[in-house]
């Protein structure tokens, strides 16, 4: 069986696009070949900056002949019917067969599709693949109309058997497939012919090209760690950077250099970010000092001077870059020293957060007010939380964050410490942005939690206030992420607070036209306070409130939180009806409580006792509801053991007494597992009761008493969650 080798040779393919392109090439080709009737043993795709390659082993040499039989109308059917059948089969009358059947002679079309040779199929599928390749961005070049990621120069397409290699005849926009390729752009630029995948990979290596990106990554990593180790240092791991670099070189040559003494005082994050973003350097740490002191760069060639010129050039560029970084760092420190971190952020009043929600400074004032409100609920000092809120975004105006936006928060922490602000404030600069994604940590310190919650709740409240909610796949302000952040901060830290009131007040503050929260600072003079109050009054009377009262908008926001919570808990394996049963309970704006309840209920329902108790509850509830509807009364009070006729009935009274005694304190302590364990003890008496007695007896006194007894079951069970919402 032949092996297939395809190489699409082009100008430099962006590194970030290569992994996906390998997958796409493999999938489009193998799907197309299989669809056309071929099968294969194994397929693997490779890439270098200049080539996208697919190797398929054990491809069948041709597709099977397909025979299709179709039954048509009777042989003596009207001409019209026969013509229709001929049209649909593409045959003529004399090509049809007649077969005798019970109903008489029937017409049959036997259509034979002969198998096709592999080269023909490969050519067809490859051309289609090239023309429809899903590059994130593709381009035309010269006079052609073909689109590829960068100009495509040659196509190598070879079928290899024991008998030899055969070029698959194929031409795409004037590029004819052949059996030749080229080596490294500088070290081995000549063309050469190959005869199989093994021959190709070996000749490429001789021509200074490592085909397999995994092999390049491994070689870079091994050499870089070895060189760092030899100097008593360690490489800072960065898998994303490693993959990117492997996509930029065909023949990696690892070079290590030192960072100038003048720059070693820069924060480690600054060195790492500058070297990675601008130069694609790895950082090398000296474990003795804990500092980043060296770097590793990966060149794409060997040189007679063993990389000396290349390293010298890279060092020069690095010095220029780090001079810039040091300039920013020193300027920022000077600013903080003279006007403080809060002063550094003064210009945020000129930066628009959203045209209906004011400037970033406006937002900060709202966050400070909100953080003050939330602080006592999370164990933080209100003044400290408000102080932190006023400075956590100041670094957005620093020169360093202007250059490296990804250092936001991190620089704020450095500048806060330089100013001598409390450590909790410095910590909050970074942590108030967290969690940045599903795998990121949540803030662990109280001040950070308060500000993080305030920031996210204000963002959500603001966009709810101006009715800019996420719809479908559109969520331009990342509001889903903000809501999930609030949920995770509350749940993972076990923070207990009701969201509804906080949200309502946050919405009122964020509404266009709302008065700016008074900056609660001791140096504010009384006259200013009076003026602020006056303005607030004017604003309140003048504000044209958007549709819906504050409470309605807050309810809509709370519903959004509940939706996000459902998604979050579903990912953790908790059924949606379990969440609904908990959402129906009072206090459902307390997210941590909600989750605690849902987790306990899910665990309970995973036990036999839980499942059976649920059945018992449902049976009791159904009988009771039907009786209440029929009688038009509510059986909710007054079950008396003296009317009990059966032992099981008396036992149930006793069990309910014991259960209520155990459940009440457990519920008061929000100990849901204990409450549910006590409920589980009711399962046997309830089952036995239903087994032994008939509820709807003729004796009305006994019947009423039993219905009231069922009501006690319902009341107890509904204490933990609204079990009527559970399925099954």
């Amino acid at each position: 069986m032949p092996d297939l080798l395809i190489e699409l040779f082009s100008e430099e393919i962006p590194a970030r696009m290569q992994p996906r392109a390998r997958e796409d090439l493999k999938k489009l080709m193998t799907d197309g070949l299989v669809e056309a009737g071929l099968t294969y043993g194994h397929a693997e795709a490779f890439s270098t900056p200049r080539r996208l390659v697919l190797a398929i082993e054990g491809l069948t040499a041709e597709s099977p002949t397909l025979r299709e039989e179709r039954r048509g109308p009777r042989a003596d059917a009207p001409a019209q019917a026969i013509e229709g059948f001929l049209r649909s089969t593409g045959l003529s009358r004399d090509q049809l067969e007649e077969r005798e059947e019970k109903k008489g002679a029937m017409l049959y079309a036997v259509i034979e599709r002969p198998g096709r040779k592999a080269p023909e199929i490969v050519a067809e599928v490859l051309e289609r693949t090239i023309r429809a390749f899903p590059w994130p961005k593709a381009m035309r070049w010269s006079t052609g109309s073909l689109r590829w990621v960068r100009p495509l120069h040659s196509i190598l397409c070879l079928l290899t058997t024991d008998a030899g290699a055969e070029v698959v005849p194929l031409e795409v926009d004037g590029i004819a497939a052949g059996a030749t390729t080229r080596g490294h752009r500088f070290m081995a630029p000549d063309a050469f012919t190959v005869s199989s995948f093994e021959d190709y990979a070996a000749k490429l290596k001789a021509a200074k090209v490592i085909l397999d990106p995994a092999e390049r990554e491994a070689a870079i990593w091994h050499e870089a760690t070895t060189q760092a180790f030899a100097q008593g240092c360690e490489l800072v791991e960065d898998k994303g950077l490693l993959t990117e670099i492997a996509g930029l070189v065909e023949w990696p040559v690892v070079l290590m250099g030192g960072i100038g003494e003048a720059f070693l005082g820069l924060p480690a994050e600054v060195l790492q970010t500058s070297m990675k973003e601008h130069q694609k350097f790895f950082s090398v740490r000296n474990p003795k000092t804990g500092r980043i002191e060296k770097f590793v760069t990966v060149a794409n060639r060997e040189t007679v001077d063993h990389g000396a010129t290349i390293l010298a050039g890279n060092l020069k560029v690095l010095s220029a870059r780090l001079s810039d970084a040091r300039f920013f760092w020193e300027n920022d420190l000077r600013t903080v020293k003279s006007v403080g971190l809060e002063g550094m952020g003064a210009g945020l009043s000129d930066v628009t957060f959203h045209n209906k929600l004011g400037s970033v400074a406006d937002k900060i004032a709202r966050i400070a007010a909100l953080a003050r409100e939330i602080a006592p609920l999370v164990g933080a000092g209100p003044d400290l939380a408000a102080e932190a809120a006023r400075v956590v975004k100041s670094d957005l105006r620093s020169e360093m964050v202007g250059e490296f936006p990804e250092l936001q928060g991190i620089m704020g922490g450095y500048y806060a410490r330089a100013e001598g602000l409390p450590e909790a404030v410095a910590e909050a600069c970074k942590s108030h942005y967290q969690p940045l994604g599903p795998s990121d940590e949540v803030p662990a310190e109280a001040v950070g939690m308060a500000v993080a919650l305030a920031d996210k709740i204000d963002t959500l409240a603001g966009f709810w206030a101006i009715d800019e909610k996420p719809t479908g796949s559109k969520d331009p302000f990342a509001l889903r992420r903000a809501a999930l952040g609030v949920i995770r901060i509350a749940v993972e830290n076990g923070l207990r607070f009701g969201l509804a009131g906080i949200a309502e007040r946050a919405i009122a503050r964020a509404r266009p036209g709302a008065p700016a929260p008074a900056a609660q600072r001791s140096d504010m003079v009384v006259a200013e306070q009076v003026a602020a109050l006056h303005e607030q009054h004017l604003a309140e009377t003048a504000a044209d409130a958007p549709e819906g009262s504050g409470a309605e908008v807050a309810a809509s926001l709370l519903a959004f939180f509940h939706d996000r919570l459902k998604v979050h808990l579903r990912d953790q394996g908790i059924r949606h009806d379990v969440i609904d049963a908990c959402l129906a309970m009072p206090g459902n704006d307390d997210l941590a409580l909600l989750v605690k309840r849902a987790e306990a209920l899910a665990a309970f329902l995973a036990t036999d006792d839980g499942v059976n108790l649920l059945q018992g509850f449902k049976r009791a509830n159904n009988i009771l509801t039907q009786a209440e509807e029929k009688d038009g009364v509510e059986y909710s009070f007054g079950a008396d053991p003296k009317f009990a006729e059966d032992d099981s009935e008396r036992a149930l009274f006793a069990a309910l007494d014991a259960g209520e005694a155990a459940i009440a304190p457990a519920m008061a302590a929000e100990n849901f597992p204990a409450a549910m364990a006590a409920m589980a003890a009711l399962r046997a008496p309830i089952d036995a009761f239903f087994e032994a007695v008939q509820i709807n007896t003729d004796n009305q006194i006994v019947r009423r008493n039993r219905l009231n007894l069922l009501s006690r079951i319902r009341t107890i069970c509904l204490q933990v969650a609204d079990l009527t919402r559970l399925e099954g």
Binding site: E12, K137, L248, T297, N300, V304, I310, G313, K316, V317
Partner: protein
């Protein structure tokens, strides 16, 4: 007489070698456009000539002005006035990468000793309504050129596609000459009877323009000029294509001059800090609208391939 091999000794030798190299490769070596532009791309030899079907090959130095980059001549590599070297070939030849690498050899960069890399960098000019795909070219980790295949200019699809090369001349020459501060770079031969450094020629002008750009330029006047340029561009393009004598003369280039003016005036206003974040987009949109109309007009002309015979 500039040597043609070895390492150049001055800024002007780098330029002369590039001129010689691209002339030898068949480019028309043009002179700078006589207006203030932000980049070599604005020269009509690139912007307009990348449109339409007629083949084109041009190379030129273009003085470029970016008022916000002024640093009073103190920054080692940032200035409000600098030079770009620009090459535009339409249709892009299949060996454009090799031709480009040849130009690096011509200015003394030995590709056997250096690490030359093509790193993804897509180009977009919101003011020109233009974009293309290509790379920034790295030499030992330093960006030395932009390499772009134009896909769209002035809102028109480019057919055929032009290949554009842009060299930041000061940075490239500093690298080749081993100079750390641009003002210390020899402009002419250091052995000449009167050796002149880049600073001898430009330090004072950098100071003067930095002060004017940042502190002194009359913003009310600039704003008025912006609106005048916009109005004149519109008027020129709205005029009847036939003149008084009945000749069909579409004034694409005079209109485009007004577009260039508007673009530079916007840059000056930006440097004066009088354009807010939200206004910025609106101004860029106004310049782009002019660029698009100029492109629309150019493709109806003979040079734009819109008139045959």
């Amino acid at each position: 007489m500039a040597a043609t091999h070895g390492v150049p000794r001055s800024f002007q030798e780098v330029i002369l070698r590039l001129q010689g190299y691209w002339a030898s490769k068949g480019c028309a070596v043009l002179q700078p456009y006589d207006m203030e532009v932000g980049a070599g791309t604005f020269h009509p030899a690139t912007t307009l000539r990348s449109l339409g079907t007629r083949p084109w090959a041009a190379a030129y130095v273009q003085p470029s002005r970016r008022p916000t980059d002024g640093r009073y001549g103190e920054n080692p590599n940032r200035m409000q006035h600098y030079y770009q070297y620009q090459v535009l070939i339409k249709p892009s030849p299949p060996d454009l990468q090799a031709l480009y690498l040849g130009s690096l050899e011509a200015i003394g960069i030995d590709t056997a000793l250096h690490d030359i890399r093509f790193v993804e960098d897509d180009w977009e000019s919101p003011t020109l309504g233009a974009w293309g795909l290509g790379w920034e070219v790295w030499c030992d980790g330093m960006e030395v050129s932009q390499f772009t295949y134009f896909q769209q200019v002035g809102g028109h699809d480019c057919h055929p596609v032009s290949g554009e090369l842009t060299y930041g001349l000061e940075r490239l020459a500093m690298y080749v000459l081993g100079i750390d501060h641009v003002m210390e770079m020899p402009f002419n031969d250091p052995a000449a009877p009167i050796p002149l450094s880049y600073g001898d020629i430009f330090r004072q002008t950098e100071q003067e323009y930095s002060r004017w750009n940042f502190d002194q330029a009359d913003t009310a006047m600039l704003l008025k000029h912006f609106e005048d340029a916009e109005a004149e561009c519109d008027r020129i393009l709205t005029a009847e294509p036939e003149d008084a004598a009945g000749r069909r003369i579409v004034m694409a280039h005079p209109a485009y001059d007004q577009c260039i003016k508007a673009s530079h005036l916007f840059n000056l206003l930006d440097a004066r800090g009088v354009i807010s974040v939200t206004e910025r987009q609106a101004y860029i949109g106004r310049v782009r609208a002019l660029a698009k109309r100029c492109a629309d007009a150019f493709v109806t002309t003979e040079a734009g391939g819109g008139v045959t015979g």
